[in-house]
Structure formats: C-alpha cells, structure tokens
Symmetry: none
Subunit: 200 residues, 4 copies
DNA sequence: GATGAATGAGCTTTCATTCAT
DNA sequence: TATGAATGAAAGCTCATTCAT
C-alpha cells in the first residue's frame, strides 16, 4: 500500500531526485537504485511512496507539468499589446527552461513510453497551452492587431513549435543566452514576418 | 564478426523492419526478437549484420536521416521567391512525414537514449538542416526580399521549430491534411507576420 | 532482546492473531504486517516478543500443539471398553477440529518448511499421540478385547491416519457433521472390520 | 511465449529436477536457480519452457499426479477377494512411495499455497481415488463379502487415511520396510477389525 | 514499551547475446 | 550462412527486520 498523498518531505525529496535522474537518463536507463541514491534514501523507501517505477515516473511528469503550468501561466497580460504578450510568452518559457532545467526536460520531453494515461496528460497540457495562445491571438483579432483572416489555430501551433525549439536549444546548450533579447527578436519576427514590407 | 557495410538484401530487410518496430515501440520496448520476426529472419541473423541492438538502432537512425535528407533536400529552388521556397520546404517535409511515417518518427524522434554518438549525428543533421534554411534566408537578404537586420540564425531555428510541430502533428493525428494548403498558410504567415501591417 | 517467556497479555494476543493468519495463509504467504494488523499492534511490537517471524511461527505451533494435547488428552477412559475409547478418541479430535479450527490447522498441518527443530516437535508430538493409542491397544490386549497377535504399533498408526483424514475433512468442508455418529461408525468399523464375519 | 507442450527432453529434465527440489524444499524455499542448477541448465532456460515459477510448480504437481494415478491405477483386481484387493491397494501405494519418493511427496503433499486451480486438481484426484476405493467396497457388498449396512463412503475415506499415514511414514523413515508384510497386516486388520471376534 | 518509516538482501523475471548445429 | 535454444547479467520489487522517536 502506498502512503497517503500528503506531501511528506520524503515524498518530495524522491520526486525531485527522480526528476533529475529521469531527465538525464530517460525512463528506461534510470535505475530505481540510482534514484534512491540521488535522493539519499534506500531503494525500498521509494516503494513506500510509489507503487512502481512507472507510477513514480508518472507522478514526476504530472508534478512537473503542474509546476510548469503554474510558473508559465502566472502572468495575465491581456491589456498589453500582442507584441508584448508574445515577448513575454517566450521570455517566461525560456526563463523557466533555464531555471528549472530538469523539470523542463521532463515536462517538455517527448515520452514515447508510459501509460496511455500519461500521454493523455501531455497532450491535454499541450492542447491547453496552445489554446491559451490561440485565445491570445483571437483577442488580438478583436482589437484589430491581427487580420481577421488569420488561421489562429495554425498560428498558435506554429508559435508553440518555435517555443519548443528555443527552449530545448537553451536547455541543451552550454552557452548563456540573453533571453530577453531573444524574446524581443522573436516577437519582432513573429509580428512583422520575414518579408520586407515595402515602405517600412 | 560484422559484415562489410555493403548493402546486402538481408541487411536492408532488417533495417527496414527495425525502423518500423523502433518507430512504434521505441528503442527499449522493441525486442530484438520482434525485429527478427518483422524482418522474417532468425534472431541470430541480425547479429550477423549488426554488432548489437544499439548498433542496429544507430544504423537505422543514420539510414533514416540519410534517406530523409535525400528526400527533403532533393529540390533546389534557389531561383524561386522566398515565399515559394518556404512553401516548398514545408510541403516537402509534411509530405515526407506522411509518406514515410516510420522513418520520420525515427529521424525526428527525440532520442534521450543512445550513445553520445547518435546524439551527435542528430544534432549535426539538425544543424545542417537549419544551416540550409539559414542560407536560404541569407540569399533572400541579398535579393532584398528580407531585411538585412534579420537574425537569420534565429529565424532559421524558428522555421525549424515550426516544421517540427507540424510534422509531428501530421504524423500523430488520424485526420488527413491538405498539406499544400497548410504550406501555403505557413508561408504567408511566415512572410507577413501576425501583425496587421497598415496599408495592406 | 526478547521478553521472558512469561505470558504477557500482548504476547498471547500476538500468538492468537498469528495462529489465525498462519492457518489461513500459510507461513510464507503470511506477512508480519498482517499479523500485527490482526493483533492490533504495531509491526515492531511483534519483535519485542519474538526474535523473528520464524520463531513466532514455532511458538505458535508449539502453543497450538500444547493446547491441542491438553484438550484431546483431557479425559482418561481406561476403564471403558475399547469400542468406547475409540469412539471417544475420534469424537474428541473431531470436536477439537471444529471448535478450534485455526489451531487445528496449525497443529495438524504438514509443515514442509521450518527449522528441523519444529519438525522434531511435530514428529515427537505425533509419536507421543500414536504411543498413547498404542498403549490403549496394549491394555485392550491384556483385557482380552484384542488378539495378542495384533501389531499394535501398526494399528495405532492406522488409527492415527483415520483420525487425520476425518479431521481435515471436517475442517475443510462447509457442511455440519454429526460427529457423534461418525465416531460411532468409525468405532464400529474399527472394531469389527470390513469383513462379514460369519455368524454375526 | 512458452514452447509447445511437445515433450522435449529439456522440458522433462526440468520437470524432474523441479520435482526433486520442490519435494525437498517446498515451493517457497525452492529458488528457481536451485532448480536450474539441479537440472543442469541455465536459469533462463526454465523460462523458455514455463511461464513462471508458479506455473512450473503446477505442471510438476499435475505431472506427478498423472504419473501417480497411472502407476497406482494400473491393475484391475475386480475378480480377487476384498482382502486381496486391499492388500494390493496398500502394496501398490507403498511401493510407489518408495520407488518414486520425490514425485510421491509432490503428489501427496498438502499444498496450502498455489492457485485455486491446483487445489482443484488435488481435491479431484483425491475424490477420484476415494471413489475408486468406495466402488471396490460397493462391489464387495454385492458379493456378500461386506455387510450391506456399511457406510462405504466413510470406510473408503478411512482407508485413504490409512494409506496416507503409511505412505508418508515409509517416505520419511530411513529404515527399509517389508511392504508386502505391511500390506498383509493392514488387509487383515481392515478385514477383521481390532475386536476379538468370539469363535474365530 | 510501542511504533512504523526506512532499509537492503534476496528473489523472480526479462532479454540481448552467443554458439552449436 | 542462418538459426533459435540456451544463457546469465541486470533490474524491479517484496518484506523481514531495525531503530529513532
């Protein structure tokens, strides 16, 4: 029997260690013993709090997603210009990717494995995120910042894709990045496009 | 002892079967026996051609990347407008994702596992691809289609990100997509940006 | 350190709970935690009174055997006829099997496991029991109720065997049994044999 | 996937080794590795032929029961006197217990563990055996060798109980037994009973 | 004394790899 | 060359036992 969901210190300790190990080694490579070691507890202790390695993984992902959402949803910028909103969107995500490297890898990872359940969460989370972006664009249509004819669904997906590459690039590279500058550039490119608009 | 790299019929047979199995089950879930079964050969035969499961996986990825590059690089469109080049870029990749579903999943997959070596290839391949896109943008700068101030590195990366989401979306969804229309819309958005440019 | 053999209340509590659990699940299936739960004490408490699960089991068996012997030896019927003594022997054991189901299963169980020590007890206990029956038969020889040529050792063993099947049958079946009638029939068959004696 | 039921040499080898180990150590004490060692094969080989330790155990029991039944049912003695039939019944079983010590222990063992399925088999097998004995008695009633009033069900059970103790006694003791003599004595006691019939 | 969270030895089981045929 | 039966290292998981509270 697993202990109650009450957030005991040990439980959190294990989740954090697991996030680190899973993000580095992936699910299959990570040995339960590695996680125990990283958490500074015995192998058996993990099974006091989680039914199985699989379940632990799912909890780590879920927890990461929750934290991720909490962090990146935080600010509501409805009153700002679309340009600023996009800037902020990228800035926030890039910052998160840097600050919470491990969690980020787990939350954004492309987990082929895992119960259908976990896939469900990730798809849902992504959809939710994309929908949030889409709503942002819809609002911009209303204010006239964006053309009515824009396929906001597609555009939101594209923004999400850009967000993805940049985050993973930032996560994996060793260099330090000026994420504010990157966010600004992205916002600019996104708003104006690549094409040279005559008379600008 | 492993056979020479010479492409024997059996060898190719195994690689193809492996691509299918790996793309469906992922590296760890895929059992060598599954691959042997899918290839219609004995388990031992695989080891005649590949040193280990790991090596086989690497060869599959390498082969997939090669084939992928071959297919998506195929056309040279230097003389076309940037808009058309982008259109074509997306069209080609989307078409490839649909036509070669299995290979696509292997080639674009986010393989956390695997030797550093394989990661190397994938990063290299990606960089190469991104560079190709970057060059495309650089040429457009020269022709005046794009502003000199554009950070073509960043822009190329963003394009690559958009390419990624769309391909995976197309790969995983069950619906049929009008990829020509998608490509067109993407090209439009990419060129003009989201912002409503006054006087258009 | 284990407590003195002094029968504390807790100690008895645990033994009783253990008897129940062991009789239902067998030694290996029974978890120490199950027993603790059944006894309404903490897991650690059991180790205050018993050195190990094994020792606890041994004590349970020993205690059960003691109780069993106490109950079934109780009456001394030397002055009765052999027929009546046999009747009583079976009646007593059958009654015990029904009344003390759990203890019975432990006391009569065929424990393949366990220290040689415990096997020793069980064999000794059995031998003792068989000897008691043998003595009964020997006395019957003296009174002329039984032929001098009878192999009383063998006969006692056979009676013990009959006792065994009947008890286990009564223990495991759900029906209610008229054990007095059974005892009577057994006594009859045992005394007269199966063969139809001419002139009876 | 387990290999076909075809009686391959290895399969039988493992079953025999398992019978030996299980009969000595019991199910839980026996380690799969012990069995592999006893069979002179690798640990993994066992899993080529059996899905699990549990399944192996069940097959061993089933096989033992089958063999046991085959051996002890062999002779049909309907035309002999009841005395001779009983003699033979005991002789056969005792001989089997001695000749096939291991199998005997598995076939007659009191397995508390194991799937309900295996319990089913054992109960069925026992019932079948008892019924066979009962039929023997019923036939004897018809020929007038036995009193019509005999509770043949009970008597058969009692015989089965006697058979049990004797077999286990023979199995566990180190002495050599004159089983023909034992069988003769048992037949005598069984037929005539313990009671001294006046005028015999 | 009493507890139950923590532990790790020990077990079952999987599956990549070998090798006799 | 091709095979698949045989193998054993490696990993997940259980649970008797300990010990800080």
């Amino acid at each position: 029997m697993t202990k109650s969901t009450t957030s005991s210190t040990k439980r959190i300790l294990v989740i954090k260690a697991a996030a680190k190990v899973f993000s580095r080694q992936g699910f299959h490579q990570a040995r339960v013993e590695d996680i125990a070691l990283a958490a500074g507890v015995g192998k058996g202790t993990i099974y006091e709090y989680f039914d199985s390695k699989h379940r632990l993984f799912e909890e780590v992902v879920q927890e990461s997603l929750k934290f991720y959402s909490g962090q990146t949803d935080a600010v509501n910028l409805k009153k700002f210009s679309l340009h600023d909103q996009i800037h902020h969107l990228f800035y926030m995500h890039l910052k998160f990717s840097i600050d919470y490297h491990d969690i980020s890898k787990v939350a954004l990872g492309d987990y082929t494995l895992g119960s259908e359940e976990i896939h469900q969460w990730m798809r849902e989370m992504r959809r939710e995120k994309v929908i949030r972006v889409k709503e942002m664009l819809e609002r911009a249509k209303e204010t006239g910042e964006v053309d009515q004819s824009l396929d906001s669904d597609l555009a939101a997906t594209l923004l999400w894709g850009m967000l993805g590459v940049l985050c993973s690039q930032v996560m994996w590279s060793d260099e330090t990045h000026d994420i504010d500058q990157i966010a600004e550039k992205v916002a600019h490119i996104t708003m104006r496009g690549l094409g040279l608009v005559p008379g600008t």
